[in-house]
Amino acid sequence: MYEQLAQQIVNGLLIGFLYSLIAIGLTMIWGVMNIINFAHGDFLMLGMFISFWLYTLYGLDPLFSIPICAGALFLLGLLIYRFLVSKVMTGPGLAQLVVTFGVSIFIANAAVYFWTPDFRMIQNPLLSGTWTLGAVDLSIPKAIASAGSVVVSFLVFLFLRKTKTGKAILATEMNRDSALLMGINTERVNALSFGIGSALVGIAGAFLSMYYYIYPQVGGTFGLISFCIVALGGFGSIEGAFVAGILIGIVQTLGGYFFDPAYKYAIVFAMYLVTVWIRPQGLLGW
């Protein structure tokens, strides 16, 4: 019993760290621009496919395609910000949201069109097999992906706190007008955060492609879960997203284990509803 419980908690942590990384990308975009990027899950899917094709066509292991995924998604984020989102930044209420809906529908279906809706998998990646630690089995690709996610999340945290650009992003998050008055180019900060947020989910996609099925609709569930994580942690809060990601990973696996795997996402969503009922601003929001 305890062994199984430990195993489930470990599994929850493994997926939770990855959730955190995905959600941090999303919460950065939100924090700076007050936008929910609905295409976030589809960006994840693109990251997975880039990694898949690099492996299939050029034999490049997912582990080495991480920087390529990051770069490609960073560029995509910049372009989408520059040519679509920035057009509606001053527009009415939800116009930004509708734009990202359009992007999401477009990307997901372009993937169906070019790559068919089939499920794919990276066969025999460099990392495979399991470690056995006492009673707990640890899948190596999952463990590396999670450890990598933690490292990247921590680097983002350092970047925001220690570098000038990072501080400019944080300042814009806190107060856009004051930031502008202090000489921060907020337009550049917007573009940069959209790019970085997208790059982070691209990295998560490369990690995920090491052990997860790759198909055009894969972003759907991950996207929804990451919205919940961001809201649960408090919109715009990097630390909140990190904590909430781990929490949701654990709740999901334990819920699936103790109740019914079919309901694991329902349990996550229910937990979100209960939490915001008690704390409408999320765990670490203000």
Partner: protein
């Protein structure tokens, strides 16, 4: 004076007359289907507008109410032999109650927190129906075929009755929306939208009016759900409860121009034919090309015409004068 009143009413009357005679001139089954779907999404957009447009409660979970309406009337008809018209009201009432139950904890959530909460709620409903043996889980339900009549809410040889029923539903929703927006409730909702704190200070019980708005919106959405079940004669979670339905409803209202009475109608009149015709022309092998173009158009229209098509039309109208 008389002339301006005439000019105000005439365009609307002309459109209505054209819509009323449309089925007599267009006999094709597909154009009729497109019109019916347009009316239905217009109605769903109007219902969404009560929440999102007037009260700033951006619901992305309308599919839950739509599905509850579709499933309630269908279950009542299949298992208990209840007339679909009674099922329609039962579904509406159940959706309104569900809306109130979810609305009480959520009504003090703002902006994006409400949006995510509504998605979470709708996903829970979808997962539940997807695993619920009583409603045939993911297999879905085929409605029993009854003799065609208005009483049975079922017609087999012609789509015209469905057309008129949906048009009537849409008219009813528009009248209701107009009534609400010019009534005390509409002013209260907009006051709350402008500022929670001020409205509260004025002594407006915003939770109560927000709850009313959710219940009305849920009721109308469930009505459309029952209609859909009676029209398609087959429902499953994939066709009535999924997030893309909720998204389509938001798009209809937003593209038309949220917060205006006719906005969702315009939005539906553009989006629904667009998606139906691209599907028929390009989607013949399920290649995704149709939805790709649909998505591209949405992102381009909304990025370069952010006030909604209604806003675009009115600004063209002003320039023409």
């Amino acid at each position: 004076m008389e002339k301006t009143a005439f000019r105000r009413i005439a365009p609307g009357a002309a459109v209505l007359a054209a819509l009323l005679v449309f089925p007599h001139f267009v006999k094709g089954s597909f154009p009729m289907h497109v019109m019916i779907m347009t009316f239905m999404f217009a109605m769903l957009g109007v219902a969404w507008n009560l929440l999102g447009g007037y009260a700033a409660m951006f619901s992305f979970g309308q599919a839950a109410f739509f599905g509850i309406g579709a499933y309630t009337s269908t279950i009542l008809l299949m298992y208990y032999n209840v007339n679909p018209w009674i099922g329609l009201f039962a579904g509406g009432a159940l959706a309104a109650l569900t809306g109130a139950a979810i609305g009480i904890p959520c009504s003090n959530l703002r902006g994006h927190y409400f949006a995510i909460a509504s998605i979470a709620f709708a996903e829970i409903v979808r997962i539940q129906f997807n695993n619920w043996k009583f409603v045939a889980a993911a297999e879905g339900l085929s409605l029993p075929l009854l003799p065609a009549s208005l009483r049975n809410f079922m017609f087999h040889t012609t789509k015209a009755p469905y057309y008129y029923i949906m048009l009537a539903f849409l008219a009813l929703s528009l009248l209701l929306c107009r009534y609400v927006s010019t009534n005390r409730m509409g002013f209260y909702l907009r006051a709350v939208k402008e500022s929670h704190e001020v409205a509260k200070g004025m002594g407006i019980s915003f939770v109560r009016y927000r709850l009313y708005a959710i219940m009305i919106s849920a009721f109308l959405t469930a009505m459309a759900g029952t209609f859909y079940a009676q029209y398609i004669l087959y429902i499953d979670p994939e066709s009535v409860l999924i997030l893309p339905i909720s998204v389509q409803i938001v798009l209809v209202a937003m593209l038309g121009g949220a917060g205006t009475i006719l906005g969702p109608v315009i939005g539906a009149a553009i989006l629904v034919p667009l998606s139906e015709y691209t599907r028929v022309w390009l989607g013949y092998k399920g290649t995704g090309l149709d939805m790709m173009i649909y998505g591209a158009l949405i992102m381009l229209i909304s990025a370069y015409q952010p006030k909604g098509v209604w806003g675009m039309l009115t600004s063209i109208g002003k320039r023409a004068k």
